[in-house]
Symmetry: C2
DNA sequence: CTGAAAGCGCTAACAG
DNA sequence: CTGTTAGCGCTTTCAG
């Protein structure tokens, strides 16, 4: 590998001059700059990352901690990771991939060894044991999610409360009076991954505000669970005409179950999903949905980190507003058209 | 951050002794070893990654290049990535995440700057422009997939030819005489991502060998495409009683389409899918399937890289044998029971 | 505007 | 078995 010294010799300048040409941290006569750049090209010089990191105290690497088992939809996670990598590259950083199973110790490891100079942690739970660790780490971090005690930390997330409310409002606006939230598996609520609970809060509050009946039930990922849950729901609340679904894997089975039960969508049952756009669009009928803006969250997360690394300050909490796209799966409830 | 010099002073030894205690690269009296270890603990010492990399010429980081847009099922990809990270950690390495859109230049960048000391490249196409680059790189790499010219490279993949054949054999063993392969979208074949073509090869060869009719058709990911494709297939070949599916996203729609067309599974139509186990098991009925051993491929990839890094040699091509699990979606063709 | 020189924190000969 | 020393390749004062 060619070193900075070789480039310097080739260009007839000092190594520091080469460094400064590359970093632009002091002004260089256009003459020597050109000469150095030609030498860099000619020799195919690439600065050694470790040497640079050691001397500058900056690895130019961000850690990305992804969940392993989670209620989170995998493609959304991947979209998110992709967005983090892409954005990091725009700021000349690379991304080190960590899995959540390394736990708090893993964060300490990469941070304290200066392998990375900032961290993005996904799928943060309400009482996440990594939160206190992050607070003590000698470098900035951004959490995707929203722990109970977020003091001194930077969090970014979709505004799930607003998302839940938006679904209710959409259905209420259409004239529905009885609706249900088909939620994530109960394990997700128990783990207190904030997002499921916050959606529920938004759903319940909005239902109250709009004066509609809003019932709620968790749902596991198997076909049988969906069938059983929906049957039970319709037995207990026969008047339900609208469903909000926050559980991507059951969307297919749910449509199937409704078909089996003889409920047409949207004539007999309106549906609004909280899911990725491509999932909503690939169903029959295409689903009205609130998108999880994975790409935007990733972008925001990295931009916040870079700002912090440069000494800037960022808001402690960024809640991205949800956007509801009405598609074919929601309409006025049949037989109630025109009712108040 | 505490340095090796501080640990050395605290323990009353030389810095090199601390280094040797940590690396175990030479024998240390149990007395000083204990003393050093106590100091390491007491001070909470973590070796600086850049300094270590610079001095030892080893970053202890592997690059993982993941595809962005691909015919590959995302959860499988994620499984794979997870396996790579987990295995890398077992060998005391970390993983740098790169996306395919950085192209060959991205590989050169991380390799020539010594950011990583080996690479895993996923979703390698038949005529992948990264292949010649990898060949020239001054460090080992492993490809997941199987390019046309794999000379001098190490490749690992599922044996898709065998997978295609195994599906045919399974159905032929059950007594089916006319079967079809529902493949990936035609774009995937055109991109010549080897796996789709190799499955097709195995399917066609085995059908010939077993003397059964084997027809083949690509299929896009939309519901309408599935409906259209299956209708066309059954119109052209009404005798078909068995389907091999290599296209994870259409599995749900396909089951739905068959139901609509009044074909029961497996009574009227047997199904074998090439997909992840959890997908096969979450369908109704549970699908007979050939698994993509993502976890094992990831493990194998990292182990090969580590072996190469240590100067060992590994086979140029490792094709992991497919494993078929018979579940509820395949049976003898009704009305043909007992026929030869 | 440029060069010389002092580290960054660690590893690995080399010497004893 | 342990210590001394010379780098690894770069950045960044300090001097001019």
């Amino acid at each position: 590998m060619v070193t900075i010294a070789e480039v310097a010799r080739h260009a007839g300048v000092a190594a520091s001059t080469v460094s400064y040409v590359l970093s632009g941290k002091r002004s260089i006569s256009s003459d020597t700059r050109a000469r150095v750049q030609r030498s860099v090209q000619a020799l195919g010089y690439r600065p050694n990352a470790s040497a640079r990191a050691l001397a500058s105290q900056r690895a130019n690497v961000l850690a990305l901690v992804v969940p392993l088992r989670t209620g989170m939809h995998v493609p959304v996670m991947m979209q998110f990771a992709t967005s983090v990598v892409t954005t990091a590259r725009r700021f000349d950083h690379d991304v080190l991939l960590l899995t959540a199973d390394e736990g708090p110790e893993g964060l300490e490891r990469v941070a304290q060894s200066s392998l990375v100079d900032a961290l993005v942690v996904m799928d943060v739970e309400l009482h996440d044991e990594r939160v206190p660790v992050l607070r003590e780490l000698p470098m900035p971090s951004v959490l995707i999610g929203y722990p109970a005690d977020a003091d001194g930390l930077t969090c970014i997330d979709l505004d799930f409360v607003a998302a839940g409310a938006q679904c209710v409002d959409h259905l209420a606006d259409l004239g529905h009076h009885s609706i249900a939230l088909l939620g994530t598996p109960s394990a997700v609520y128990e783990r207190q991954t904030g997002f499921a609970q916050r959606t529920l809060t938004g759903f319940v509050d909005a239902a109250g505000r709009r004066g509609v009946l809003g019932v709620e039930t968790p749902c596991e990922h198997t076909f049988d669970a969906v069938l059983h849950t929906v049957e039970q729901l319709l037995r207990d609340h026969p008047g339900i005409t609208g469903l909000v679904v926050q559980n991507e894997p059951i969307i297919g089975p749910l449509l199937d179950v409704l078909r089996r039960l003889g409920r047409r969508v949207p004539e007999d049952m309106s549906l609004v999903a909280i899911c990725a756009d491509d999932v909503a669009e690939s169903q029959v009928p295409r689903l009205s949905s609130v998108t999880i803006p994975a790409e935007q969250i990733g972008l925001q997360a990295v931009e916040s980190l870079i700002t912090k690394l440069e000494g800037g300050s960022v808001p402690a909490l960024t809640l991205l507003p949800p956007g509801l796209t009405a598609r074919a799966s929601s309409s006025q409830p049949t037989g109630h058209i025109g009712s108040p």
